[in-house]
């Protein structure tokens, strides 16, 4: 069963090294310098990178392999989050039971929705998943408020039972942890002007990301993965061979739903709140964008795409005019104002514009997503020409 090539092993090693050293890699600029604005090495964002990486890797198992484009994947993310927060409320602040429940519930949810939706293919399948997800969102926002706490989102409170923890003492809310190891604990390593943050929660997420990545690699290289690819290539022909493809697609759907559930559970474990917007169609669309942007069907692409979008959302939205002025303060006043005036359409409140333009540029010039860009760069610099089917020319995202 172990059919990993050398290239695969290298990829896995690459992922492990990158995730473990992320606090260094993401904080390249010294504290207090003008460029520090672009540092992304703080716990919350690193956690998000890992969590959305898991989500995109899972989505890729469905979309990248079978070509089925689900437009309702955010529903599983939301379900996972709600299950996890309920676990924190009822049982214990330990993240293990919460994560287990969120994966199971999301899996069941995916089984039901997948069973129905997979009766159709192509865009009809996409719209079915979208319809289920939008229904979940609408209900979670309003009618199901007793379960989901609607608009505000489900939070832990002081008077939750928490059977295993024996309730909460008066005063402060408990925090999520792993057998006493608190998710929010952070070591700060100061090296000269640099400050690197090592957060327990991030490393938990990173370990899950590596496991998720490893599992998806196994699936990609397994006979099951091969079967899924066959479905994408030509389902009709597959059916003529007397093979029923439904169980395979359903399995892929449920697995990727469970990935989303895990991601949702981790989100809640890092920050015990589950909001309904997590299930909205825009959130589902974001997952699709991450995967295609990074390179659907590739192993690393979706993780890259997830990082790309989250980076923009969190870093570019915080650059305001004031920051711009400090950057360009050495320039003459007139020039400074002119530059700031131009730039301020693209950052801060205009970060959507930058993101939209980058989507277009990537899709127009890099049909295989960011992974194709990476490959082109590698090709330009010579070595490592022959590569596995991992390259985007092998990918032809679903239609």
């Amino acid at each position: 069963m172990n059919t990993f090539s050398k290239a695969d092993k290298n990829t896995l090693l690459f992922v492990i090294i990158i995730t473990m050293l992320a606090p260094f890699i993401l904080n390249p600029f010294p504290e207090g310098s003008a460029m520090a604005q672009f540092n992304a090495g703080y716990p919350d964002l690193m956690q998000r990178f890992a969590i959305f990486g898991i989500l995109a890797v899972g989505f890729n198992i469905l979309f990248g392999l079978t070509g089925y484009l689900s437009f309702g994947h955010a529903a599983f993310l939301g379900v996972g989050s709600y299950s996890a927060v309920w676990m924190f409320k009822l049982l214990s602040m330990n993240i293990i039971p919460a994560l287990i429940l969120s994966v199971i519930i999301a899996g069941i949810f995916a089984l039901v929705i997948g069973f129905i939706s997979l009766r159709r293919s192509g865009i009809y399948f996409s719209i079915l998943t979208l319809a289920f997800a939008q229904m979940s969102f609408s209900l979670a926002y309003s009618v199901l408020t007793p379960i989901t706490n609607g608009e505000t989102g489900l939070q832990i409170t002081l008077n939750d039972p928490r059977i295993l923890d024996g309730g909460t003492g008066a005063g402060n809310l408990p925090v999520t942890g792993l057998f006493g190891l608190e998710m929010r604990n952070t070591f700060t390593l100061d090296l000269g002007a640099w400050a690197f943050q090592f957060n327990v929660g991030y490393y938990i997420c990173a370990i899950f990301l590596i496991l998720a990545f490893y599992l998806s690699m196994r699936i990609f290289r397994s006979p099951f993965g091969l079967m899924l690819r066959a479905i994408k290539t030509n389902q009709t022909r597959l059916n003529y061979t007397g093979l029923n493809s439904r169980p395979y697609t359903l399995a892929a759907f449920v697995i990727s739903g469970m990935y989303a559930g895990l991601a949702g559970g981790l989100m809640a474990a890092m920050d015990p709140l589950a909001g309904a917007e997590r299930m909205q169609w825009t959130a589902s669309g974001e997952i699709v964008l991450m995967t295609i942007l990074g390179g659907a069907g590739t192993l690393l692409g979706p993780v890259l795409g997830a990082g790309f979008i989250k980076y923009f959302e969190n870093i570019f939205s915080k650059i305001n005019d004031n920051v711009l002025h400090t950057w360009f303060s050495i320039l003459p006043d007139g020039l400074e104002n002119a530059i700031v005036w131009v730039l301020h359409f693209f950052v801060g409140k205009g970060w959507h514009l930058t993101l939209g333009m980058l989507f277009m540029l990537v899709v127009i010039f890099l049909p295989g997503g960011l992974m194709e860009g990476a490959d082109r760069i590698r090709a330009r610099f010579g070595r490592n020409k022959g590569k596995g089917e991992d390259t985007p020319n092998a990918t032809n995202p679903a239609e």
Binding site: P43, S142, T188
Partner: protein, 454 residues
């Protein structure tokens, strides 16, 4: 470059480079050494010459303009705190602790973020302010969902949250937190202020039909208005919940005229409110006679931007606001002057509440002599003040809600300019909108204890 200082610190909610102070410790060592530093007394304790505030407002999405107005007010407040401009309401504020030299002598700096009016995004943005930028206080927002979510986060992180525009009873009711404070008024107060005016203007035997946004804020708002108007003798014909995503309210408005109701109450906010009011006026409801009376429409919560979006349709319609730039007191005048001269138009009531919140926070720091959230909370609890535009105001200790006069507003028939869409009908005195901390509409919550983090 040889790293001349290497150390590891542990903190719960993290803070970048707090440790520039201990630079001596590692000097002369070739290898980074690992020293456990004394724990900071509270999250993001400012050590340098400046203090960072986090302004978390919607910059994308339907409330972006409201967020932009809040941001303008924040920038103005920072300018005034640092001694710039004409000082605005600092001159009229009854507490004289602020000196225009920053807060506790430290220059005020700020970071901004985008809540996208989503609780998830708002929390992500607030977290990045706390973890990356070292913000000591988070403020802003223009919806109750976001306010409650961010308030919960600030409680866990150990920083103060000064709520922006949030009108749900829950913010200082069942979701109240020890680290969170609200200056804005709430649904109960809207009901208590509006009901007497409604009874006076439209009579006491009215039959009301409610359209309510189907989520927490809508429900608490509707409950408040129904209770307050029924106490004045009105009856409630129906309460129909409308989905949040509704853009066209025609199918909800069409049956109203035939229901026997003679007043339509629109418990909507933002885009929902603009559309439902526009649709209702389109149907010509206001030209009709029902039960021998003129049909009326009420919008319990107004904002200047919504009034602008609804245009002509707002004329003659009653609602409530937290504040209005047309008030005549000194605080208002000073603020409107400072804001108007800087930006060229008068501030909205969202701008006023966030400006006041920033000054109140800074003032509490000065009076407490610390940035420690627990010290600040103590200074704010039970604080009586005046001169911030709303008359004598109390920050109540039990639920961290401000009690002050509430304005009943009406869409002006002949606005003289585009900022003059609303006029004040009545300034409802504070005593009339007060309620007991354990009022059933606010029950079920617990402030907990203040959390300084670290």
């Amino acid at each position: 470059m040889r790293p001349d200082l290497g150390r590891i610190t542990m903190s719960n909610f993290t803070r970048r480079g707090l440790l520039k102070t201990g630079a001596v410790a590692g000097a002369g060592l070739a290898m980074p050494t690992l020293i456990t530093s004394p724990l900071a007394a509270y999250t993001n304790e400012p050590t340098g010459g400046s203090v960072t505030l986090g302004f978390n407002v919607p910059q994308t999405g339907p409330y972006a303009d409201e967020g932009a107005d809040e941001l303008r007010a924040y920038q103005l407040a920072v300018e005034h705190l640092n001694g710039g401009g004409d000082g605005g309401m600092m001159n009229t504020f009854s507490s004289k602790a602020l000196k225009g030299n920053g807060i506790l002598g430290k220059k005020v700096e700020y970071v901004t973020g985008d809540t996208q009016t989503k609780s998830d995004a708002a929390r992500a943005s607030a977290k990045s302010m706390i973890e990356k930028d070292g913000a000591i206080m988070i403020t802003g927002g223009s919806s109750s969902g976001v306010a409650v979510a961010v308030q919960g986060l600030c409680q866990e992180a150990g920083v103060i949250f000064m709520a922006g525009l949030t009108h749900s009873n829950d913010t200082t009711g069942k979701d109240k937190k020890a680290n969170g404070f609200r200056h804005f008024f709430n649904g109960y107060m809207s009901g208590a202020a509006l009901a007497p005016v409604l009874a006076k203007e439209y009579g006491t035997d009215r039959r009301a039909y409610h359209l309510t946004a189907d989520y927490t804020w809508g429900w608490t708002q509707q409950e408040s208005i129904q209770q307050a108007t029924e106490a004045k003798g009105w009856s409630t014909v129906n309460n129909v919940l409308t989905p949040l995503a509704t853009t066209d309210f025609s199918s909800y408005i069409a049956p109203v005229l035939n229901s026997g109701a003679d007043v339509l109450v629109l418990n909507h906010y933002g885009g929902n409110m603009v559309n439902s009011l526009t649709n209702a006026v389109q149907f010509g409801l206001r030209d009709k006679q029902v039960n021998g009376k003129n049909f009326e429409i009420v919008v319990p919560l107004y904002s200047e931007l919504m009034a602008k979006g609804a245009g002509e349709n707002i004329k003659g319609i009653l609602g409530s606001t937290n504040w209005s730039w047309t008030l005549g007191d000194d605080g208002t005048k000073a603020f409107v002057k400072a804001f108007g001269e800087k930006y060229g138009f008068p501030p909205s009531n969202a701008a006023q509440t966030v400006y006041a919140q920033t000054l109140l926070y800074a003032d509490a720091c000065e009076r407490a002599g610390t940035f420690n959230p627990c010290g600040i909370a103590e200074a704010l609890e039970g604080f009586e003040f005046d001169g911030l535009g709303n008359g004598p105001t109390l920050y109540r200790k039990e639920d961290h809600q401000c009690f002050k006069d509430v304005l009943v507003m009406k869409g002006k028939d002949n606005p003289t300019n585009e900022y003059d869409a609303l006029e004040i009908v009545e300034v409802t005195p504070r005593a009339q909108v007060e309620y007991a901390p354990d009022h059933p509409m606010f029950a079920g919550g617990d402030l907990g204890q203040c959390n300084p983090g670290a």
